[in-house]
Symmetry: C2
Subunit: 201 residues, 2 copies
């Protein structure tokens, strides 16, 4: 039961948001209708505008409403390093972690032949154009540590081999702060294989 057909449609529409079930949708709808109509109108307007205008950066394919994103045009990034990620969320996570000062290239997915997702669908033709610009000395293949992410990294590595630039992959290992007993077996065996000389300080 709800109040009216239109409120029901609003409850339904709110459920496109990740993590929003019926109860949360109800709380959100009532909050906007009862307490913050201005905020709700702003949200509706900005959301419509963003869905209309936000596309991909011409150079790195991250989300932006501009021709080129702020990061691609920044003079303060290291032009010699390019980090290839599957999604803008991965790019944000790396930026939030801090430390990396190079550029990015966003695939918006990974190769998936069975789903008909090939090299051009993840922008690899654009990646070629990007690298033809010159200046990139190292490409970090930071696709997800999943079967599909690995396969995509290997495919890209193969394509880039003739360019002779340095290729790297994020280090695998046990996550910092984690307890060994909760780390999955695949991660643990990779951490063993990639073990480093112990440096006491």
């Amino acid at each position: 039961m709800s109040f009216s057909p239109l409120v029901d449609r609003l409850l339904e529409a709110l459920r496109v948001l990740p993590g929003v079930g019926p109860k949360t949708a109800q709380r959100m709808a009532l909050h906007l209708l009862e307490r913050d109509r201005d905020g709700g109108r702003r949200l509706a307007g900005v959301l419509a505008q963003a869905l209309e205008e936000v596309g991909y950066c011409r150079r790195c394919r991250t989300l932006t409403e501009e021709d080129m994103c702020a990061l691609c045009t920044s003079p303060r990034r290291d032009d010699g390093v390019l980090c290839v990620v599957e999604s803008p969320a991965d790019m944000l996570a790396i930026e939030d972690a801090g430390g990396y000062r190079g550029h990015y290239f966003v695939l918006h997915g990974h190769l998936s032949p069975l789903d008909g997702i090939g090299p051009e669908d993840i922008g690899l033709d654009q990646l070629d154009v990007r690298l033809d610009e010159g200046g990139v000395e190292e490409v970090i293949l930071a696709t997800n540590p999943t079967v599909e992410g690995e396969a995509t990294a290997h495919y890209i590595a193969e394509q880039l081999r003739e360019r002779g630039m340095r290729l790297s992959r994020l280090a695998y290992g046990v996550p910092m702060g984690g307890e060994l007993e909760y780390v999955d077996g695949g991660t643990l065996s990779r951490a063993f294989n990639g073990r480093l000389p112990f440096r006491g300080e």
Copy 2:
């Protein structure tokens, strides 16, 4: 750091939703932009329409885009009982609990003289009109069990006294399934004062 001014504005706008902090807003924005633009457009459209068209039912003041809500026009409700609640959310909670078959009247708040919220701001003039229709034999004052809710219930009771209809208030007590040690003192003492003869079955 984010992607672009417009995406930043979207992250900001999403935070009008209750319970949505920076991380959740980012997950929502990326989900809509990367994976469900159609769902996002539908949400923007329905939200704008609801904020434009949803007002108060002429008879019970719940949220509806119609002149009168589905519940007020239903032939299957008990016309003799009217339950006064502070918000549409309270009305929904009572409906979800099941069992109540009467009608409602929604105040959209409570009396708060210090904030300049008087009887007309919570629709008490409309409540008079509603009761003038006749047929109501009992008014259940189901305002919140807070200081303001109590004061509002007492004020309304005073206003309705001359009408000679039955007035009631929800029973206070320990919540079902709760453990006594976690029940606050005020609730506990009210539960003692309102104790009932024990009926073994």
